[in-house]
């Protein structure tokens, strides 16, 4: 699906939301980008902004050469025109629709039969075909996450946004989902931004890491670069935590 090594996504935005002043510039190609940072640093806001939530912002967002946002030219595409897949922290599953209908929601130009087949195939790829008929309330955290992921991926979005994809998943299911997620992201061939707190996620996915604090990027690089020269106490603690959790989880 993708062309070259040129960045598919580039953004340079400024937004104000309550007490938060977000000012971020970044680019992403096929390698996933992980946004890390303390609570309230603007991680989720950044993803919502990319998804097209009504947040007043200036600057530009370009995806595959197409302007999603260009405040100078007065362009701000609505979410439905962006071709972006979004998995919020809450999963955002539609409570009145079965897992299958949730995934089929966005496939409205297909005939009903093909629609169901495509949705079922997407659920199968994420290992949750067996819950197709179930309602979201009857799913476990891990199943919900997989269904939400299937729903985002089934439309083959040009950009994938994942907000803490493993946070609401219990420990037993987390490792398997982490492996699956890393695989999916590697095979995606599209830019993906994910918010995470977990260093194990960072190790498994091996993304470019962007550290966000108070709405600004304070450091970027891969895990090794961050460990070699942490920019501040927060990043240093992140590296410490990694040593801790390696001890916790012997291989």
């Amino acid at each position: 699906m993708s062309d070259d090594t040129a960045p598919n996504l580039s953004l340079n935005v400024e937004a104000e939301l309550g007490a938060l002043r977000l000012r971020v510039a970044l680019q992403a190609g096929e390698r996933p980008v992980a946004i890390v940072g303390p609570n309230g640093s603007g991680k989720s806001t950044l993803l919502r902004l990319l998804a097209g939530a009504p947040i007043a912002a200036t600057g530009s967002i370009t995806l595959d050469g197409r302007a999603l946002l260009d405040s100078e030219r007065g362009i701000n595409l609505p979410p439905e025109a962006r071709n972006v897949g979004y998995v919020p922290q809450s999963h955002g599953l539609f409570p009145h629709l079965s897992a299958l209908d949730n995934v089929a929601f966005g496939l409205f130009d297909l005939a009903p039969k093909r629609r169901r087949a495509r949705a079922l195939a997407a659920l199968t790829e994420l290992g949750v075909a067996h819950v197709a008929a179930r309602m979201p309330a009857a799913l476990s955290g891990g199943e919900r996450q997989r269904v939400a992921l299937a729903r985002a991926l089934v439309l083959q979005p040009a950009l994938l946004l994942l907000d803490e994809p493993l946070a609401a998943v219990d420990v037993a299911a987390r490792r398997a989902l982490r492996v699956l997620l890393a695989q999916r992201l590697r095979a995606l061939g599209r830019p993906a931004l994910l918010v995470t707190h977990e260093l194990r996620d960072l190790r498994a996915i091996d993304p470019e890491i962007v550290v966000l604090q108070d709405g600004r990027v304070v450091q970027r690089g891969d895990l090794d670069a961050l460990r070699a020269a942490p920019a501040n106490a927060f990043v240093a603690e992140l590296v410490d935590a990694e040593d801790d959790d390696r001890r916790e989880e012997p291989r």
């Binding site: 439905e80 955002g92 966005g106 008929a133 309602m135």
Partner: protein, 292 residues
């Protein structure tokens, strides 16, 4: 049991304190239970007394009273019209209030509650002041050949004003429960804002909307004070079932009791139906999609 040693003096004291607390606690619990039971009885007593004091003869006499069927028909017709008006205007209003983050929506919510705290008589006179012959719009409407006061339209208007808050508040609460991120996801999946509202917010909020509609309908069906003042008590034109009860009471108590029993029965059925409907809907949608 009682400790005598110095070490146990304090725990013993605490135990005494505990006994005293549990004694007042027991008294409080007893009083509370008695008061709660009395209130509960008072709540069901009117309907119970109606049912017990109405024999089949009285019921038949009431149902054969010439005012019964016109009043029942008018009540059903006007209350359904007002329910339609309440839902048509209340749904978008509640959605806008629930989705808005502006502090000024608090004032809109308070305005919506106004008819609940205002006495129906005040609302009735207020509506007359607006639409009566001498009212604010009365002259203008009369020039157009429209007379609102003392017409069926007045009945609908009075019911709409009185019933709307029950639906709107319930709908606001229901829409607030819808995950805003789910709506954003719906948009990223290709749905327009209107599409997301119709296909995600509305069905997700449906149980609360249905419950609110039921309350509003029951309230419209029972509206009395504002209707009497604004629409009058004209048999066949503006005499709804509650007004027919009032009129019958002056002639034949038995008829009034029979009519009241019918109206009370309809209200009770509505309440029971509403409690069951959301669960039924959920169950149905739960098993709807079988994967072939």
């Amino acid at each position: 049991m009682r400790g005598v040693g110095a070490d146990e003096a304090e725990p013993a004291g605490r135990a005494v304190g505990r006994v005293a607390t549990s004694r007042t606690g027991g008294l409080l619990r007893w009083l509370g239970g008695a008061a709660a039971t009395a209130l509960l009885l008072a709540l069901v007593l009117p309907l119970l007394a109606l049912a017990l004091s109405t024999g089949t003869d009285e019921l038949a006499a009431g149902l054969h009273d010439p005012s019964f069927f016109p009043a029942l028909g008018l009540s059903l017709r006007t209350s359904l019209w007002s329910l339609a008006a309440v839902i048509a205007g209340g749904t978008p209003l509640a959605y806008a209030v629930a989705r808005s983050e502006r502090p000024s929506v608090r004032w809109v919510e308070r305005l919506v509650d106004l008819p609940v705290v205002l006495p129906p008589a005040v609302l009735g006179v207020g509506l007359l002041a607006a639409f009566g012959r001498q009212g604010l719009f009365g002259g203008g409407l009369e020039a157009l050949g429209v007379q609102v006061a003392f017409s069926e339209a007045a009945v609908v208007l009075a019911q709409t004003v009185v019933a709307a808050p029950f639906f709107v508040q319930s709908a606001i609460a229901a829409f607030r429960q819808v995950d805003p991120d789910a709506l954003l996801v719906a948009r990223t999946l290709g749905a327009s804002a209107e599409h997301a509202m119709l296909r995600v917010a509305l069905p997700a909020a449906a149980p609360g909307l249905i419950a609110g509609a039921g309350l509003a309908w029951a309230r419209a069906l029972g509206e009395f004070g504002a209707t009497l003042l604004f629409a009058g008590n004209l048999v066949g034109r503006t005499q709804t079932l509650p007004l027919a009860i009032y009129a019958a009471l002056e002639q034949d108590v038995r008829v009034a009791v029979a009519l009241a029993l019918v109206l009370g029965g309809v209200g009770t059925l509505l309440l029971l139906g509403l409690r069951g409907l959301p669960a039924l809907l959920r169950r149905r949608s739960g098993g709807a999609f079988d994967v072939g």
